[in-house]
Symmetry: C2
């Protein structure tokens, strides 16, 4: 079997490079045949005591924070970890994918520069979210395509369908379009135009508009939307899950109800957005996992699991749950 | 005390005019000094046996469904209940507000025709949502202003602030702007432009961008957004609440855990979007409550409670919870 390597960018996450390093350690423990390339400060990586012979360093001390301008960072003289990681991903055949938890704009700009699969197709970032029926819906785009046009939404439909075909072996993933009403006449200008295009697009199993309260109902396998709206769906779903789970824990304390803790724990395992892996960048030569800024070691491991599954063409993303 | 009347449009809701009539009955029971004017079919209303002397009929057999074109309905020869209700609200001084659960486009067109407060300001529809901290946030707009411009978002900030000042006696309601990141540089074109305007607007206590996972965190009293995005926040929050509550009930059955039902019931009372009253149209001469299509009798009663509170200049919207 050929060598398989995952690149992990240690810099840019809210919990710091140490947490990302712990994620790398979990990856090496779970996958004895996987190697990692770690982008970050040499000293820190060397001191981590990772298993010998299965890691290498992409030395970089600089990162791009959310307050930095990604384009300026691009012309920095010192090596910037995210660009170094992306460049390496494009150069090395054995790299099966990359994990990053930093500035999305920088990741996006770097991916376009170093990893673009097709020059006519802009990448986007999908998220795989748990549905009420126990399955998963691919939400695309989740924030990379702010203010895009209708043709790009059609592109998302293809990219999302391809992903769900390979992750879940679906023959014809059902594609829904996020709108403010289920009727085909509902939507903003962009959605109405995209609706007309999707309805006649070859190779797309279009099931029509999906309303905001049905986004995670399992009515579609791919939910297409422009990046600003998709970002709201992703983050609002997470926020609501956190609000309700917090409320249950408070209730349990107030009413001395020990079952509340058990139920909150169960919901956290079903709707734990922080550990759900990460967003998946589509349209790049290598799979790029965009973890949340607040991503923890489990999120790194989950992202690696998806990379390994995609590389092995397996359909058991469910296994991470 | 002068006569106070609430107009209830019986037609257009998913559960039918009978459910709206039951809502009217609850309103008359709870508020002995309130009268109602009921827009709908004469026979049905007369057969309901409501308390004598406190109701009248605005006869109309026709409604506007979600599949109808609101503008065509406007030129209908037969009386259409929503237009009849709005016209009456504009004409009669004793009317303190109106409740409708039908086609939003028709309600909006009719409100502009019959009830516009200021010809230069388009109305919008706000929703008062429960926050994690036990308070409420006014989300504005929730779907009436699809594809609007930045100046209109500034208008929403004023309209929402006015509402929260009268409902909660807040001196300087904190106004947040929905975006895809907390930093001022984040947002689509519309949000970036609105951010610059809001930051220098007099009479607005602007607290900056609010991310999707913080919409109901209680960080602001008024959350401003364009209608398509607001519709996503409103419906997605509701959908997630329903998903998690359903999951708790399933868990309780599967693990024979009776406390699950108790906890689900508690969450339903805290996050019951269906009974939370309704959207509130702002920018009209009379308060118009836009209930959901699926609104039940409790939602009608809650909407009436808000109308009465606003008319009496009270700040106890909390009392409905």
């Amino acid at each position: 079997m050929e060598k398989r390597e995952i690149i992990i960018d240690l810099l840019g996450s809210d919990l710091g490079p140490e947490e990302m390093l712990e994620g790398a350690r979990l990856v090496l423990e779970e996958f004895p045949n996987i190697h990692v390339a770690l982008a970050g400060p040499r000293k820190l990586i060397e001191a981590a005591g990772l298993p010998e012979g299965r890691w290498r360093i992409l030395e970089a001390d600089k990162t791009v924070t959310n307050l930095d301008n990604p384009i300026e960072a691009f012309y920095s003289k010192e090596p910037v970890s995210v660009f170094k990681a992306l460049e390496e991903a494009g150069r090395c055949d054995e790299v099966i994918g990359l994990i990053n938890a930093g500035n999305t704009g920088a990741l996006f700009a770097g991916a376009i520069r170093f990893l673009l699969a097709d020059k006519s197709v802009r990448p986007c970032i999908a998220a795989i979210l748990p549905t009420a029926q126990g399955g998963f819906t691919c939400l695309v785009d989740t924030g990379a395509s702010i203010d895009c046009g209708p043709q790009q939404l059609v592109q998302f439909a293809h990219q999302g369908s391809d992903l769900m075909r390979s992750l879940y072996k679906l023959d014809a993933p059902r594609v829904g379009l996020l709108s403010n009403g289920a009727e085909p006449t509902k939507g903003n200008k962009l959605v109405k135009e995209a609706h007309a295009l999707l309805a006649r697009e070859d190779g797309i199993n279009f099931v029509g508009n999906i309303e905001g309260n049905k986004t995670l109902s399992g009515l579609c396998d791919v939910l297409v939307c422009e990046g600003f709206a998709g970002n709201q769906v992703l983050k609002n779903s997470e926020g609501m899950a956190v609000n309700l789970i917090t409320e249950i824990i408070k209730y349990g304390k107030m009413h001395n109800q020990p079952a509340a803790k058990e139920i909150a724990g169960y919901l956290m395992s079903r709707f734990d957005f922080a550990s759900l892996g990460a967003g998946i960048m589509l349209g790049t030569k290598k799979t790029v996992m965009k973890a949340r800024g607040s991503c923890n070691r489990t999120a790194v491991l989950n992202a690696a699991r998806i990379l390994v599954n995609l590389a092995e063409n397996k359909s058991f993303y469910e296994s991470i749950h």
